[in-house]
Every structure is written in structure tokens, then in C-alpha cells.
């Protein structure tokens, strides 16, 4: 065993991974069904469920903003962490490059989501 030991920074990414994993396990399938299948095909829900005025109002509401931000950002961080480990699993060295690519894209998505939510106004 090599000494001295260096503390891992994984808890930050692991916590985001866990939060996103739990959120996507609880709500992911239903969200995909609503936004990707039911609304586009006009099933079960009113035709204007995701109309511009309704979605804008939702995105301008503070709770709505928080919900949208949590879903997009945490899903991204969850996926980034898993994919980062999967790259290691298939033999791609889990070094700085893989880390930058996975977590960098999640960070970019998070910043873009925050920007768009500010741009939609309050």
C-alpha cells in the first residue's frame, strides 16, 4: 500500500451521481413518457399540455425553474459519472481526459440550463 494516502475527490461526483440516479429512477420513465410520447402523440393529456404559454409560465415560476434545473443538471451528472466509470471498465484509462470529457460536458449542460432559465425571466 502506497503511503501517504491522498484523499479522493470522488464524493462530490458520487453525491451528484446518486442524486441524479435517484431522481431518474423515481421520475425518469414518467417524464420520458409525458414529454417524448404522450404529448407528441396526443395521448391521455390535453393537446396543449406543452404549449408555449404554458411552458413559459412553468419556466418562469420559481418552483418550475428549480424542477427543470434539477432534472436536467442531475440527470447529466448522473450519466457523466456512470459513463466515466464505464470508460474505465472497457479499458479506457480513467485519467484527466476522460474526466474532463464526462464531467466537463455535464458542467457545460448545467451552465446552459442555468443560462436558459435566467433568460426565460421571472
Amino acid at each position: 500500500m502506497k503511503r501517504p494516502l491522498k484523499r479522493s475527490n470522488a464524493p462530490i461526483f458520487w453525491a451528484l451521481f446518486g442524486a441524479g440516479g435517484m431522481l431518474s429512477a423515481l421520475l425518469g420513465p414518467m417524464l420520458v413518457f409525458i414529454t417524448g410520447i404522450a404529448v407528441p402523440l396526443g395521448l391521455l393529456l390535453p393537446a396543449d399540455t406543452m404549449s408555449y404559454p404554458k411552458m413559459l409560465a412553468f419556466a418562469q415560476n420559481l418552483i418550475g425553474k428549480g424542477f427543470i434545473f434539477a432534472i436536467i443538471a442531475l440527470f447529466l451528472w448522473h450519466a457523466a459519472h456512470r459513463i466515466f466509470h464505464s470508460l474505465h471498465d472497457i479499458g479506457i484509462h480513467a485519467g484527466r481526459g476522460a474526466r474532463l470529457l464526462c464531467y466537463g460536458l455535464a458542467m457545460l449542460g448545467t451552465v446552459l440550463a442555468a443560462y436558459a432559465l435566467l433568460a426565460t425571466g421571472f
Binding site: M1, K6, R7, S8, A10, P11, A15
Partner: protein, 251 residues
């Protein structure tokens, strides 16, 4: 009148460091009875077919933890795995995965022994007591907190089941981290802060990706995956809370 003698094919991964560049498979036809374990099949090979075959064994009753092998690709104790369950197919026997092969079915476990030492697998008393003060008392509930994690027999099946150990030999790994957890959970022990340094380190729990296979193959139902994953939570708490309580034991 005994039944007709049955014969099973056992394919063994052979490796002799003095003559072989790489391991190779060798097939033996072994007569067997329904009560014979894979270990007994391998012993038959050594006694009657090829005396050079090397493997470890001792107790024959799943408590010493020496006879672990990959049997048809699954980490198993060969003493409690039976030839009848594979017959009439061939059974493949190989040294435990993820460890260097010393010779035939014998692995090199030096790395594991070092890890075992590094977790300080003994009680570091919270308070020094003299003999006159009597024994350290423990309630059944306090015993319960660690008892399951104390059943490990160091058979290393969990390491052979852990791809993360296979990919990164520095990972402390399931059995050692489980034993670490066992001592941290002991009410008489005060060594947690010291051991957490290893849990938190780059060699520590965050190498685990919750594959869970270690707990599937554990012959003593120790559930190492649980011990490792509980310590991810412990480590994350330690990571974030140290900003609130900078006097914590870990750096």
C-alpha cells in the same frame, strides 16, 4: 451392485513458471461419484493422473477459505461445489481471477495480505483499561452492528468477483474494506478516524461501482458490497462535514 462408474472431464488451467510462457488448458478424465466435490476431483488428478498439479486446500468444509477457484468462470469454494452439478458437461477450473498465478491453481495473495495489514484489523481500544477494571462489555445490539461483517474467511472469492479490483490492483477491495468496517462498527474500537483515511483515499471505497457480484459469491454471506457502499456514505459525510468541523481526525 454399484452403478456404472461415471467419468467427468475436468479442464484445468495449468501454468508452470519454470517452463510455460503463458497458462494453457489441460483436460483430465476423472471417474467420480455423486458425493465428490470439485476439490476431490482435482485431488484425484493429483493423486492418480498428474502429481505436478498444484492447488491449495485444507479443511474441506468451507471454513478455511483456501480452496477458492474459478469454476466454470464463477468464483467458488471448490470444496462445496459438486461435480454432479456439471456432469455430463465438462467443468472448467482456473485459478481465482484478478490475482497473479503463482503456479496452476495457486494465486499470489501478497497484495491482499498487505491490504489486510493496512486496515489495522484489530481493536484499537477507545479507552485503555487495566485488568482490574474488567472486560469491555457489549450489548447484543452493539454486537449486531458488526457481527455479520466479522464472518469473513479471507477466501478471496469477492476479489475474484470484483472487476474494479481486476482493473486497479491498488483498490483496497471488498474483503479488506469489509473487515475495516467490522472494526469501525465495534463499540469497543476507537480507530475509526485512522481507518477512514484509507476509506477516503484514492485506493478506497470510491473505486467500487456497486457491481454487487462480491456479495453474490461470498460463501459466508458477509455482504461485502453493503460494507463498501455504506462507507461511501460515511466517506462523503467525512468529506463534506470536515469543512464544518475542521478538527476531524482525517486530513
Amino acid at each position: 451392485m454399484p452403478e456404472q462408474q461415471k467419468t467427468i472431464e475436468i479442464e484445468v488451467l495449468r501454468y508452470n513458471p519454470e517452463t510455460d510462457q503463458v497458462p494453457y488448458a489441460q483436460v483430465f478424465a476423472v471417474p467420480f461419484t455423486d458425493d465428490m466435490s470439485v476439490l476431490q476431483g482435482v485431488q484425484y488428478i493429483k493423486d492418480y493422473l498428474d502429481g505436478s498439479l498444484s492447488f491449495r486446500w485444507s479443511c474441506r468444509m468451507a471454513i478455511c477459505g483456501s480452496c477458492g477457484m474459478m469454476i466454470n468462470g464463477e468464483p467458488s469454494l471448490s470444496c462445496q461445489t459438486f461435480l454432479r452439478d456439471y456432469y455430463p458437461e465438462r467443468v472448467r477450473v482456473e485459478a481465482l481471477a484478478h490475482f497473479p498465478i503463482e503456479r496452476d491453481l495457486v494465486i499470489n495473495m501478497e497484495g491482499f495480505i498487505e491490504k489486510l495489514e493496512s486496515i489495522q484489523p484489530y481493536i484499537i481500544p477507545k479507552e485503555a483499561r487495566t485488568l482490574a477494571q474488567g472486560e469491555y462489555l457489549q450489548t447484543p445490539a452493539q454486537l449486531n452492528a458488526y457481527e455479520q461483517f466479522s464472518s469473513c474467511i479471507n477466501c478471496l472469492l469477492c476479489y475474484a468477483a470484483c472487476p474494479q479490483f481486476g482493473l486497479n490492483k491498488d483498490f483496497v477491495g471488498p474483503a479488506a474494506l469489509t473487515l475495516l468496517h467490522r472494526y469501525n462498527m465495534d463499540s469497543r474500537d476507537g480507530g475509526q478516524a485512522e481507518r477512514m483515511q484509507l476509506v477516503n483515499a484514492e485506493e478506497g471505497v470510491f473505486n467500487c461501482t456497486a457491481v454487487g457480484y462480491c456479495s453474490e459469491v461470498c460463501p459466508k454471506h458477509v455482504d461485502p458490497a453493503n460494507a463498501v457502499n455504506l462507507n461511501k456514505t460515511n466517506s462523503a459525510m467525512d468529506y463534506f462535514l470536515r469543512f464544518l468541523a475542521p478538527k476531524g481526525g482525517t486530513k
